[in-house]
């Protein structure tokens, strides 16, 4: 396809909506669509979106797809029937976990392992921690276990042995044996995705991979064939959780890597937009109806972690964009507790019934309803709601549930809900930021999701963040992430060696091997790229310490003295503790190889034909909005009508199809050439 890949579609399947952006680089034409997701078979939603956008499939060069197929499968345990073959004595590792409970207080909680106990079989074999054989592999037992699992109806199988990261021979031999009679390719070896010690984490990662592999495989095959039947003959690339794309032909092999695909694409879009806008350091803030997610981007590179727990006791330790959920989104319910204090969340009205203003039967006051009462969301939109909710009804509920207990009018109660929600969200964002060693004041806030841009200015003020960046299409940012995503492959090698015992040439050799492997895979993927970038880092700790600190390296050929001083500097920077007499350990050697795709013109995402030449022409009216205790008559603008490079002072509301942007009094908003809005926060910048 090479240079011809000019007509690109990004399509992201979320929990509620399937979003699509189609971009023709030759004509500059953009098409957008938002259709309901079809969660049982996401392919229908994808085809509906293509239809809604009136895409000519035969004319498309590339489709990039973010999917929640595997996410939903894991979270809802709707998994392929999967068996486990493991070291004798250890079949319960997946169920015992790391001896935890879901929350510090309250002795309740449940946990369902990915593979039930009767499908977890043991075979005699054992390695020690140095990879020496303690008990030889009983090959007959492997054969018998495999047959037994097949008889029990397993479609997929995991082979997970203790210390296989130190010596994978037994796992490899067992896989060879199974391949002679296993009816498909769904055989996952424990060491294959994650070659690190920690049997629970490695085992869960492998089990998650095996348990979603057949589902993803079937889904992708069906999608590709449906697309083919409709005239599409290009490749389908799938987003991985690390924010890189991978070809549909390879994606199921490492299916676990797609588990956090959706949130990753939004962050990739943010990194891309930020890099082009000269804002490399971003905190992404994605507030939707049911969740609020946060991630950190430094120098236009999203923070990636190998230690994500996708839910309680569900560690999937493959490199993933480090997206943290900090709140329940616009559906968060507010109430007055027995101490007479206002609480917002953690309970959520979810997508159904959702906030009162959805008109689907919600009766609890939520953040979205508060925004409506304050005039921040357009009350006129209530008319289009099918349940026929009136503003008075919302007001009555706020009066009854909140205002009467706090001695506040419904409007004041609504403002209080927003203030408390923002305080809590800001606190949570701050914790995410400092846990990653970053001071939020050094970042810009990148606001997206349907509800993010209404809260961003207040949050930034609370966090001491001087600038907010709002992209052109906040409500479909994930789909845009698919369009702009790079090819990416991550490599991690655990060496766990004291720095003073490390041979620098060994380190350089590992980096070189990793780079070579990555470049090879990228070249096989046959996608047009403009450059190949390498990211090098090491994970280090002081000897005796358990937490790791990632030290990014500018170049791979580093000497040990520099490494020690880089580590000490990073350590001091993070903890404000200087420890100069203690030796350092190099735990992991990491290299990511990134194939950057040709730059896209983002300005076309807002239809240039709709742009007006003056602000006045873009204004569609005014409405009273409640700020700090008083109603302020606030100008309302249609976002798509704003001239390129416009400038305005808050208060103002900018409406667009997929979101509402609130510019608060004292803040200053400005448009850039790509159609982004950059808000300078009054008291800070």
């Amino acid at each position: 396809m090479g240079e011809s890949s000019r007509a690109v579609v990004g399509v992201d399947v979320g929990g509620t909506f399937t979003d699509l952006v189609a971009l023709d680089q030759t004509t500059g034409q953009v098409k957008l669509a938002k259709v309901p997701s079809t969660l049982d078979n996401q392919a229908f939603g994808v085809l509906n979106a293509l239809k809604a956008a009136e895409c000519d499939l035969a004319a498309l060069d590339l489709i990039v797809h973010g999917t929640t197929t595997t996410t939903n499968a894991v979270l809802e345990r709707k998994l392929a029937k999967t068996g486990l073959i493991t070291t004798a004595g250890f079949r319960d590792i997946l169920e015992l976990g790391r001896r935890t409970r879901p929350q510090p207080y309250g002795m309740k909680g449940e946990f369902q392992p990915l593979i039930p106990r009767d499908l977890r079989l043991e075979v005699p074999e054992r390695m020690d921690c140095d990879g020496k054989v303690v008990t030889a592999l009983d090959e007959d037992a492997v054969r018998d276990a495999g047959r037994q699992l097949l008889d029990m109806g397993c479609e997929s199988v995991v082979i997970h042995y203790l210390h296989a990261y130190a010596n994978p021979d037994h796992e490899r031999r067992s896989a060879d044996i199974l391949r002679t009679f296993w009816p498909n390719d769904h055989i996952t070896m424990g060491h294959a995705l994650l070659s690190e010690s920690r049997e629970f984490e490695r085992g869960v990662t492998a089990a998650a991979n095996a348990a979603v592999q057949p589902l993803l495989d079937r889904y992708i095959r069906r999608l590709v064939s449906e697309l083919g039947a409709n005239g599409y003959d290009g490749d389908v690339l799938v987003m991985n959780g690390n924010g890189g794309m991978v070809s549909s032909s390879r994606v199921a092999l490492e299916a676990a890597k797609t588990v956090m695909s959706g949130p990753a694409s939004g962050v990739m879009a943010a990194a891309y937009v930020g890099r082009k806008a000269g804002q490399g350091n971003l905190i992404t803030y994605d507030m939707g109806g049911t969740s609020t997610d946060v991630a950190l981007i430094r120098n236009a590179e999203p923070s990636v972690s190998n230690e994500i727990e996708v839910e309680y006791a569900m560690p999937i330790h493959v490199p993933m964009v480090d997206v943290r959920t900090v709140g329940a989104g616009g559906g968060s319910i507010s109430r007055v507790n027995p101490a007479g204090l206002l609480e917002v969340g953690p309970e959520s009205a979810g997508a159904t019934p959702g906030p009162i203003c959805y008109g689907l039967g919600g009766t609890e006051p939520t953040i979205s309803d508060a925004n409506l009462l304050l005039g921040r969301l357009d009350p006129a939109r209530l008319n289009s709601v099918k349940g026929g909710v009136t503003l008075e009804q919302v007001k009555d509920i706020f009066a009854d549930r909140l205002g009467s207990k706090l001695g506040l009018s419904p409007t004041e109660a609504a403002e209080a809900v927003i203030r408390i929600a923002n305080t809590k969200m800001a606190g949570a964002i701050r914790m995410v930021s400092i846990s990653l060693g970053a001071d939020p004041r050094d970042f810009a806030l990148f606001a997206f999701g349907g509800a993010g841009p209404s809260h961003a200015c207040a949050l930034a003020r609370e966090l001491g963040i001087p600038r907010v960046l709002i992209p052109s299409r906040p409500g479909i940012t994930n789909a845009i992430g698919c369009v702009v995503a790079d090819l990416r492959h991550d490599f991690v090698r655990t060496i766990n060696t004291p720095l003073n015992a490390l041979d620098p040439s060994h380190l350089h050799g590992i980096f070189a091997d990793q780079a070579k492997q990555g470049e090879l895979v990228i070249s096989k993927e046959n996608i047009a790229i403009s450059e190949v970038r390498h990211l090098y880092s090491v994970d280090m700790q002081f000897v005796g310490q358990t937490h790791l600190l990632r030290v990014p390296l500018e170049r791979p050929d580093i000497d040990l003295d520099t490494l020690q001083s880089l580590f000490e500097a990073a350590y001091f920077d993070r903890f404000h503790v200087a420890l100069d007499n203690i030796r350092a350990n190099v735990v992991n050697v990491n290299c990511s190889i990134i194939g950057t795709r040709a730059a896209l013109d983002l300005s076309v995402l807002l239809d240039p034909a709709l742009r007006k030449s003056t602000l006045d022409e873009a204004q569609i009216g005014t409405r009273p909005v409640f700020f700090a205790g008083t109603w302020v008559n606030t100008p309302i603008f249609q976002r798509e009508h704003l001239p390129i490079g416009f400038a305005l002072d808050g208060p103002a509301i900018l409406q667009q199809m997929d979101t509402t942007i609130l510019i608060e009094p004292g803040d200053h908003a400005q448009g850039d050439a790509d159609g982004n809005i950059i808000v300078r926060i009054g008291d800070i910048s």
């Binding site: 319960d92 409970r101 207080y105 706090l406 408390i420």
Partner: protein, 580 residues
């Protein structure tokens, strides 16, 4: 009140944030895996006048929920009495004396006076579990100590940092008396740095909202927490609720110790009367006052997690009758078991008493032991000594909503267990099994969760095995007709011959050679409700998954199985369950 309720909530969130950031800073910079990985630490803000708890980090170890306000209160009293030095800005006191508002010696507390405009505004304090503070065994958990001196170095409140500078002389005394001292400076600096983070953030909060507003908010929040706790208590029916909980033995004298509890609910207060509990014991299963109080508080917080951690939340809870019992031990009684074991048994007594009053909230008894197995010895291959700990979880109690969780951490802890692979990398051992303790979940409508069953072999050299565990004699209590969870068992195989400790769950220094093995099974949780009411499908599933044998299913749940693979015999089941 001049503060509006919204600003009050915002300041409450701000105070909580200060503490959470202290917790985060402490864990991330600490060296000791007990702090860094297991989060065996806590940070908080305490009142200048009486040490009352203002706010505490949400991720702190539960057992510290009430202790630091006692240690801070004691410190303030000692300063007033001239028994501790007067504070200056930048000072940090260190103290680990159990009898001065503490837990065991390993929990080392730092306290830093916080000044605004030259006046003491409040105290910032934190606790961290140090891996060692000296004493007869590495790690401090001696199963057979008979005096606190055998348990480690005892520090009265002294200023380890004076006006911001570490007192090298005091630190030299400490580091000469503890094991693996070279890494402790990292922990000391991490613990002190966390208090500095707190100071900085608290100053920012005060700058923003004003000292007067924050002071007012602090006292108002204390009142509101009390109101909230009283509101929950008011829903309980007036009356008396009693229970007993038992500790196997004190490790020295092989007799059980009883916690006898009578809770009187009257209006909006609860009185916890422990009169009649066993007298102080010779071995280390004594508790000290602060730990006993804290155990009651943490149990109530497990029941009402919605109430914020504040001294106000404790006001409606009165504790009496501990004088003269092993729950209020005085110097020089050994106390190493207080935080890890006795506190959990106190919580069990609280749960057991309150289940009938709050059947939807309170669970049957959880495993309730820290399951401490220590192996100390010499590794000839690496030419060095080692001390290994295997701290184990167990099953949680069944409850109104569902079955108990399997292999949960202790009631008073929140830590993760180390992986088998990491243990084998660090120590000369080989695990033969790390599995579910089958059959251990207490039978019930909702059964208890299952404990852990592990067997580990010493590969080389010589070592001594010590155990400080519990629930070996009595399983965790079932409630409302549910059965007790399975007991803890310890078997040591020396030269292939099995040996069971006389105290079942406690013994010191059992010598092991290469090839010798230790086999431990930890307790399951208590069952909730009548096991004959459990659905036959759920019992069938438990049998299919090998959690119970068909015989256990018949005896415990009244469900008869026949054949192989076992199938439910519906008629025999109906007969067993009295429904034929």
């Amino acid at each position: 009140m001049s503060l509006d309720p919204i600003t009050l909530t915002v300041i409450q969130a701000g105070l909580q944030q200060v503490c959470d950031e202290m917790d985060l800073s402490f864990s991330r910079a600490a060296f000791s895996p007990v702090i860094a990985e297991a989060n065996d630490r806590s940070d908080g803000i305490y009142a200048a006048e009486d040490g009352a708890l203002i706010a505490q980090g949400a991720g702190g170890l539960p057992v510290f929920v009430g202790t630091m306000q006692y240690s801070t209160r004691t410190l303030i009293r000692m300063i007033d009495e001239g028994k501790a030095a007067k504070p200056k800005p930048g000072d940090i006191y260190i103290v680990n004396d159990p009898y001065l508002g503490g837990t065991h010696l390993m929990d080392v507390r730092f306290a830093r006076p916080f000044y605004r405009n030259g006046k003491l505004f409040c105290w910032l304090s934190n606790t961290g579990h140090w891996p060692d503070t000296g004493g007869v065994v590495p790690g401090g958990f001696s199963a057979s100590a008979t005096a606190v001196e055998q348990e480690g170095l005892r520090l009265p409140p002294v200023r380890l940092f004076k006006e911001g500078v570490l007192d090298e002389e005091i630190f030299a005394i400490i580091s000469s008396n503890i094991r693996v001292a070279d890494q402790r400076i990292g922990d000391v600096k991490a613990q002190a740095a966390a208090l500095l983070v707190g100071e900085k953030r608290l100053n920012e909060l005060l700058d923003r909202y004003g000292d007067a507003a924050v002071s007012e908010a602090i006292s108002e929040l204390r009142k509101r927490a009390a109101i909230q706790m009283r509101a929950f208590i008011s829903d309980i029916a007036d009356g008396q609720y009693t229970s007993s909980a038992w500790i196997d033995s004190d490790g020295v004298i092989n007799d059980p110790l009883e916690i006898r509890l009578r809770i009187t609910k009257n209006g909006d207060t609860l009185v916890f009367d422990f009169a009649g509990s066993s007298p102080p014991c010779q071995g280390p299963m004594n508790s000290v006052q602060a730990t006993t109080y804290s155990a009651v508080y943490l149990a109530m917080r497990h029941i009402f997690p919605e109430v914020p951690m504040s001294a106000g939340a404790f006001e409606p809870l009165k504790i009496t009758g501990i004088a003269g019992t092993f729950l209020d031990a005085q110097y020089p009684r050994p106390v190493s078991g207080c935080a890890a074991e006795v506190s959990q048994r106190i919580a069990e007594a609280v749960f057991a008493a309150l289940v009938p009053a709050l059947p939807d909230r309170v669970t049957a008894a959880p495993a309730g032991t820290s399951g401490n197995f220590a192996l100390g010895g010499h590794d000839p291959q690496r030419g060095r000594d080692f001390v290994m700990y295997q701290i184990s979880g167990g099953g949680y109690g069944g409850n109104a909503d569902h079955d108990g969780l399997s292999n949960g951490c202790s009631t008073i802890g929140i830590s993760k267990a180390p992986p088998v692979e990491i243990m084998e990398q660090a120590f000369p051992v080989l695990y033969h099994r790390y599995a579910l303790h089958e059959g251990s979940g207490g039978a019930g409508l909702h059964r208890g969760g299952f404990g852990l069953d592990y067997e580990v072999e010493l590969r080389r050299g010589a070592a001594k095995a010590s155990f400080v565990m519990d629930h070996g004699r009595f399983g965790p209590q079932g409630v409302l007709g549910g059965k007790d969870g399975g007991v803890n068992t310890v078997t040591v195989y020396r030269d292939g011959a099995p040996y069971t400790p006389e105290h079942l769950s406690k013994e010191q220094d059992i010598p092991l050679g290469p090839g010798d093995r230790v086999h431990v099974r930890t307790p399951g949780g208590g069952g909730y409700g009548d096991p004959f009411e459990r659905s036959v499908d759920d019992v069938r599933n438990d049998v299919r998954l090998g959690r119970y044998t068909p015989e256990q299913a018949r005896d415990l749940f009244g469900v008869e199985f026949t054949g192989s693979p076992p199938e439910v015999d519906s008629r025999a089941t109906a007969r067993l369950r009295g429904k034929a």
